[in-house]
């Protein structure tokens, strides 16, 4: 199968994630969309690794997973704190800082 198809899939996933970040209003869902974007980048890395016959891309994919896990830890801590003090995880409600 043509490896370029995976690149199209990865670009599609990345776009879905980016659109999701822009249009969704729940902080958790926005965060999940960002994770989708990171995983789309991972798919690109692995595909390019296959196309180029070089293993570095697959190593980066592992690094990205670890970094994404760290981001989940920090991100969920922040989102849960906001949720506890506001009883809402909507990013539209958090609008104290507008001039």
């Amino acid at each position: 199968m043509n490896a370029a198809n995976y690149l199209y899939l990865s670009a599609l996933l990345f776009t879905i994630g980016a659109v999701g970040v822009v249009v969704r209003r729940n902080a958790i869902v926005v965060f999940m969309c960002i994770e989708l974007m990171l995983n789309a980048a991972n798919l690109s890395f692995v595909t390019f690794s296959r196309i180029n016959g070089d293993l570095n891309g697959q190593v980066i994919a592992f690094f990205t997973m670890v970094v994404a896990a760290c981001e989940v830890v920090v991100g969920l801590a922040i989102i849960v704190t906001i949720y506890r003090s506001r009883r809402s995880a909507s990013i539209d409600d958090a609008s104290l800082l507008k001039r």
Binding site: L7, S10, F14, G17, A18, V21, A27, V30, F31, I34, M37, L38, A40, A41, S44, F45, T47, F48, S49, I51, N52, G53, D54, N56, G57, V59, I60, F63, T64, V67, C70, E71, V74, G75, A77, I78, I79, T81, I82, R84, S85, R86, I91, A94, S95, L96, L97, K98, R99
Partner: protein
Amino acid sequence: MTFNAPVLNYTLLSPILILLGGALLGVLVEAFVSKAMRAVTQLSLTVGTLVLSLAQVWRIHNEQSMSAAMGSVIIDGPGVLLQASILIISIISVFLIADTDHFTALAAALPGSEEERHSLESGNQVTEVYPLTLFAISGMMLFPIASDLITLFVALEMLSLPLYLMAGLSRRRRLASQEAALKYFLLGAFSSAFFLFGMAYLYGYSASVTYAGIRESIVGGSGNDVLLLIGMAFLTIGLLFKVGAVPFHAWSPDVYQGAPTPITGFMAAATKVAAFGAMLRIYYTVFANAQWSWSPLLSLIAIVTMLFGSLVAISQRDVKRMLAYSSIAHAGFLLAGVIALNKAGLEASIFYLFAYGVATVGAFAVVTLVRDSSGEVTDLNRWKGLGKRSPWVAISFAGFLLAFAGIPLTSGFIGKFSIFSAAYESGAKGLVIAGVLSSAIAAFFYIRVIVLMFFTDPSQDGTSVQLPSILTRATLIISMAVTVVLGVYPAPLLNLISHFSTFIR
């Protein structure tokens, strides 16, 4: 199959390793040292670690090596200068962070809850902020010397993740602070996704993750240019977000305003040095041969950033938001140094980063001092007549503002002059015109604040200037001294920078 153990040059890596070691020790201090001793132990550990690391940077300042960590980092003149700048800025920021009055007593407690009141009364402090700072600094130190994409990405996350948390630790106006943390985190993670996607396409273009490999592919020019362009664009989006350039600036006013002021100062100064350091290395060494693909667009972004930052700052009523927009404008000036792509541009950028970073920490140090009974006063109208009540504090704030405006006899003037002359030398005349124009606009609102402080009658609403603690005073004195000395007698530092500022490839 055999595995070869990696060969690491520990001496060259020691500035970063010392910081990481100090940060890990700090985590242990959190667990094992009694509450009464914790704050002072953490502070001395942190400052000691930073000074030790700075001494180590001094020891390796003449070294040049491509192979300190199997080709993953490059130790060279600009790298060492940037590392030293980050450390000096961090030390004076840590002096500000040491004033624990700015931080919540218990980050996990609900704002306004019984639990929060109890922990405030029992004198709890979030001393975790010190190890978090050290982790962030070690990421910043790694970011400008990284020379492959994996290291670059890991360093980016290492410097960002602690900062997201620290933005949410303010003692007063906690909801706003948590909101700042949320915005910073979501937008930061969003931009790292772009950064990573750009990395993937650069890797696809060149089949290599090292800077040298990517440069060879660009010089050879045999690869698929579409991949290169997508990669460069997305990687640049990630970097421009970190430095806060238009149109990726949306986070910075909110985060600057919501975060605890010492953290704002630290983040504004040190992150900028690290991010521009990485950007300079990438554009000067990796993308230099593809200049015609990125230079026009980046020039446009620089011009829009300068003008936007200066114009919007005029209408701000909050000191921290005003400084945020001023930092956006400065990001535009610094981009001019990246676009110049000549040795003068590199030297000017390094000088500018150091001078601007130190002045920024100083300016935020002043903001921490102006208070009323409920905490810091950041409304500019309530700063009226500050110069009559506390002349010294007002004079030092005026000094930092004049440095931001680029008035002669301050470090800002030398920085702006050298960066614009480097841009002019490289033929970017439009950039210089826009830069001078927006400097003039910026000077207007800086001077308006000075007029407000010195030539209006004080308001009677309980705003007062707190007597600075010894450490805050040290921050103010050091940053003021650096700002003035670099303005009056910049030659030694300029010579030092020009002696060291050559990227090895």
